[in-house]
Homo-oligomer: 677 residues x 2
């Protein structure tokens, strides 16, 4: 047993058989999240660029390759890695259909590459190389034994040629031929190759996981008839409006029966009147729980018909899944063990002492019956997935046990690989990131409260330029039914415009609580509050989205720009550029191939015109730093000729608080003449 490497000899746990001849080290494989505990995320067609530090002792040449496969496949595919300096090696692969993929790295001492490099030096120095050619011939014979088909023949022939002393100098040419080298590389000697100790995972989602534009609305407010409770059928009437404004996800708050016990009245009043409709997030009543539809909204058929109508317009329904129960929820009766009991026999309602929320019973994830509970909760997702819902906005996931999320998301995706889960967690950073690691496809962010240039720059640099970007897909909301941020309360329509431009260009995924945003609803419940006055959470509202005051056409224009420019479907290409004015923020995004370049410049001052010099980093944009280039303002319509990196910009908040510039540059093609992109 002496040749077992015992890293923990005292308890003998971590012993592993060691082949002392495996000389290659592979370390620092990246991306890798928490030592491979979690998957990175991609969408279909995206690239995974893998880097690793690969090296061996001594001076022998090393070769390595990236191995990858769908998790369901058994055979690895491989791509040769290229040296990128300082013992770093790099390669990439593209992922296909949604599902799970694996990758790892393999490296080996490359005897032929070593021999070939040395031979070239010896020849150059005029040394005798007869014995070296014999060594090379032996290596070629070994390679031929590993090879198939034509390559086998080629290698055998080359070996014979290297042994043929009659041919003299031609032997060296044969030995050093590039083509022979490539042939040998196809049949590496892996007998002492090192395989990286972990296989790393990629969860691949469909395209909409990366690029989506959400519109949230309350079906009960959709009635065209004043005074009537809106229905799912009424939502159909809104679809032309939503679709024409360029949204692709129609997100509905919970559609289930609403509890009656301790129902909240208007403006969150603790006492409801008889005609108060209650909060949709108070899930469950005698009519049913998470699998039922509030009869006031319609039937399951109405829901299925709406889902179909949405799909016909190229959009998709997102349902809100809020795992909490009112005292009226059937589970309270059927599964009292899923809730915590107090010594007085009552069920523990939600509290944030001293505040009490008697209308809500939180689910007890520490219940001994947790397995049945988990199955029931999973059943909620699969029930609606079976009704063709594939996007779930999950309410407050950070107040439910983390292991549950990993289990349920993986489980649902096994059946429905196209399912998308958006985590509505506004909480501490580590908690938000953990939920993303556990499997949430998209995540709400702090964007809602990031207003200054420094706040935005720091936060989005963290989200897009650190390891966070591998697993956390931001979805940016300038408002929600819960949050009317101060900027929108006081900033007037310049604030609504610039905050939407920021959300829509900083984030490939973004959304608004639609009617309130379009109509620039901005009155808080009381000063200092972020709650809406007369919040739609507690009452039916009527929205005149055809009002001439509506921001619809502006939002529609921004959304069209999003759709038409691949750069804005990306998050990881986001780069910030210098401006000499604290109220002007400038950033760019490029498409994966670098062809589409968008530069956004936003005036963060809602009250005053701001001008200043913007210095773009030409290298980040792939631009020639000494040539002029044209930028086309897709929002305002202007065209400007920019000279080099530094240019002057002025934005008047009342007319248009932002530029969204498409760069139209001269580009050198392979055929070596310039053409206009």
């Amino acid at each position: 047993m002496w040749y077992l490497l015992c890293t923990q000899d005292t308890d003998g746990v971590q012993t592993s058989e060691l082949d002392g001849r495996k000389r290659v080290v592979i370390e620092g494989v990246r991306p890798e999240i928490d030592a491979g505990r979690f998957a990175i995320k991609r969408v279909t067609g995206e690239r995974v660029t893998v880097e690793a530090n690969v090296f061996a002792d001594g001076h022998d040449a090393v070769s390595c390759r990236l191995l990858y496969r769908r998790a369901a496949d058994t055979e690895w595919r491989s791509v040769r890695m290229d040296a990128a300096g300082n013992d770093c090696w790099r390669a990439e692969f593209r992922v296909g259909e949604p599902g799970e993929y694996l990758y790892t790295v393999e490296g080996w001492v490359d005897r032929f590459k070593t021999w070939r490099g040395d031979l070239a030096k010896r020849v150059k120095a005029g040394q005798k190389v007869d014995v070296d050619l014999q060594i090379g011939a032996d290596l070629l014979v070994e390679a031929a034994e590993r090879a198939n088909g034509r390559d086998r023949e080629t290698l055998s022939d080359a070996a014979a040629a290297l042994r043929d002393t009659a041919t003299g100098g031609a032997r060296v040419d044969t030995a050093l031929a590039e083509e022979l080298f490539e042939t040998v590389q196809r049949w590496p000697d892996l007998s002492t190759a090192t395989r990286y100790e972990r296989e790393l995972r990629v969860v691949v989602d469909r395209e909409r996981a990366r690029f989506s534009t959400w519109y949230e609305l309350f079906p009960r407010s959709c009635s065209p008839v004043p005074g009537r409770h809106g229905t799912l059928a009424d939502v159909k009437g809104w679809l032309p409006h939503i679709a024409s404004a360029g949204f692709d996800v129609v997100y509905l708050p919970p559609i289930h029966p609403i509890g009656r016990a301790f129902r909240k009245g208007r403006n969150n009043s603790p006492v409801a009147t008889a005609d108060d409709v209650g909060s949709p997030w108070a899930v469950g009543a005698s009519e049913g729980g998470h699998l039922a539809i509030d009869p006031a909204l319609g039937s399951l058929e109405d829901f299925e018909s709406l889902t179909e109508a949405v799909r016909e317009r190229g959009m998709e329904i997102a349902l809100d899944i809020a795992f909490q129960c009112t005292p009226d929820h059937p589970w309270v009766r059927e599964h009292p063990e899923w809730f915590r009991k107090r010594p007085d026999g009552t069920i523990q309602y939600a509290e944030n002492p001293p505040k009490k929320y008697q209308d809500i019973y939180p689910i007890d994830f520490e219940t001994p019956d947790w397995r049945a509970l988990w199955e029931a909760l999973k059943g909620v997702f699969t029930y609606w997935a079976d009704k063709n819902v594939r996007i779930f906005r999950v309410d407050n996931p950070h107040t439910k046990a983390f292991p549950f999320w990993e289990w349920v998301i993986a489980g649902v995706k096994r059946e429905y690989p196209d399912a998308i889960f958006l985590a509505e967690a506004f909480t501490r950073p580590h908690v938000m990131y953990r939920l993303a690691k556990l499997g949430f496809t998209q995540s709400y962010t702090y964007f809602t409260w990031r207003n200054t240039k420094k706040e935005i720059t720091d936060y989005f640099t963290e989200l897009t330029q650190t390891a966070v970007r591998e697993y956390f897909r931001p979805n940016l909301w300038p408002n929600t039914p819960d949050i009317l941020p101060e900027a929108l309360q006081i900033g007037g329509w310049p604030a609504f415009m610039s905050r939407y431009v920021l959300a829509a260009t900083l984030g490939a995924n973004c959304g608004i609580y639609g009617p309130a945003y379009e109509l620039m609803e901005h009155a808080p419940k009381e000063p200092g509050s972020e709650e809406y006055l007369d919040s739609e959470k507690y009452e039916i509202r009527r929205w005149n989205v055809d009002s001439p005051e509506s921001l619809k056409s502006f939002i529609g224009r921004v959304n069209r720009i999003r759709h038409e420019n691949d750069a804005l479907h990306q998050d990881r290409t986001l780069r910030f550029h210098e401006t000499d004015n604290q109220n002007l923020i400038c950033y760019s995004k490029t498409s994966e191939d670098g062809a589409n370049i968008i530069i956004a410049i936003v005036n963060l001052d809602f009250a005053h015109t701001q001008g200043g010099w913007v210095t773009v980093d030409p290298e980040a944009l792939g631009l020639d730093p000494v040539r002029s280039f044209e930028v086309h303002d897709l929002l305002g319509g202007g065209r400007y000729l920019w000279h080099g990196a530094r240019n002057y910009v002025e934005l008047e908040p009342d007319s248009l608080p932002a530029h969204i510039l498409r760069v139209r540059r001269w580009m050198k093609t392979e055929r070596d003449f310039d053409y206009y992109l």
Copy 2:
């Protein structure tokens, strides 16, 4: 099986049984090297500060503790972790005797802490708390069941008190009492605790691993009689000199028989004359190999006598282990399979094409007989360890297989936990760091070639302020027999002085190739070369260390300052401070307890006086930023009163190119009066 969490369900490898009620997440435990693959390093008595991100879903309070133990023990010891903000928790432990230690983190939802916090809020809000006190009583009964001795009684009594409705308001006081809280904390409910998924290792060495001062010399040059080959016995004559200069490691180049085939002559001439002594690194001759002593140096008894004499002076011998063989080495005959054969039947000598080193046969670590080879090489270490050598300087470890080092160092340390291995690897960064991770106790660094303020600042910030510091212990050498850096060739004695001050204060471990450094040997073999002219590697030299030109007293003074100031025994407290002159570098070190503070300022210009303003960071030094403090130049002897952070300094290279300032500050004690430190 549905409740098994399958992270890789396709191949079923990574399944683990899941308790869905374990709600606490533990991630980002640090220090952690390569996901726990490698140990961090400490010396006896040192602190290990562990941090982790620990959190749970929802609003329940979390508690966590650091677990640690000697690897050989079975029971964990534990220390409660403190919240440090942003879900980060921190605790520390101290390591004892050399050997291996383990640590990990455990966290749990703390129901009593949650309940207590909520109770305080309810009481403050004037709510009725009768039921809450019942809940608390239940929690105390559970805690009593987990407790022993007095605590058990205390907890039972408290539970009864909380149930005693007759006592009224006093119940709340009992419930919230700090002492009761502490008692409950001693008996946590760990039934759903989360244990971090890895146990992390600490390799603990003795003190000299962290703080040592090396003096390298060639025994063959130690003869007091001109013309006679020096011996191990002659080295004894040098010990008073070395010890009085403050060195504690006497490092000898290889002491084995030197090969005769292709022996190199003076100045690395390819042809040796009959009286050429050859290079000690050409190991092996008919007299023996790595276990033998060159008869010209003496016998094993002479060696043992020298080792003893060195030890008597509080110093230690370090032996040079160079795993390479001359054609005359016994292993070449006894184990031809350990060397690579060429097709013409010859053995492959060392090459760096087109350069050839026919006097050296590299060992083939890819030999099928690698197990026997490894045992033989390990036998070299254990042979000399058995002869009371505990410090090994390993020659070119980066040209031997990495797995071998991990195996041999761990194996030798199992028998000799006080063994110290210094890696002589001047190669690429990842390779040097890998060797340190694999177990080398100390490592040569790039210090030898880091001359400018920026070079020094960047490099030592990397070594001491990043994760590197956890496993890589720098040993700084301003010269070696292989390297006479350009600075010493051209900089005169100011260069020798300031480079030694830098080595001795930037690095807790440092060393010199002694006689050549003291006597400021500075002639290169040829212009542009870093080889010494008339290098001692190939010939016997005579050194007059009593010469009045010698730097001995200067070096001795620096070494005494090192010994007397705990701050200079540390590496991780190194901080650089601003200077407004590119030729002045300023940095500080503090002892672990912060009581001893050293500020070093070095003139990097060997030719001109340089002055400038130095701005020390008072916070980094634990100094009051508004008070004056005295600094005492331990090198030059001056005392200065410094006013605040910014002070003027001037250094004349010809007299004294550096200050080593000890800060003497006013310090506030717990008894609240000032005293002079």
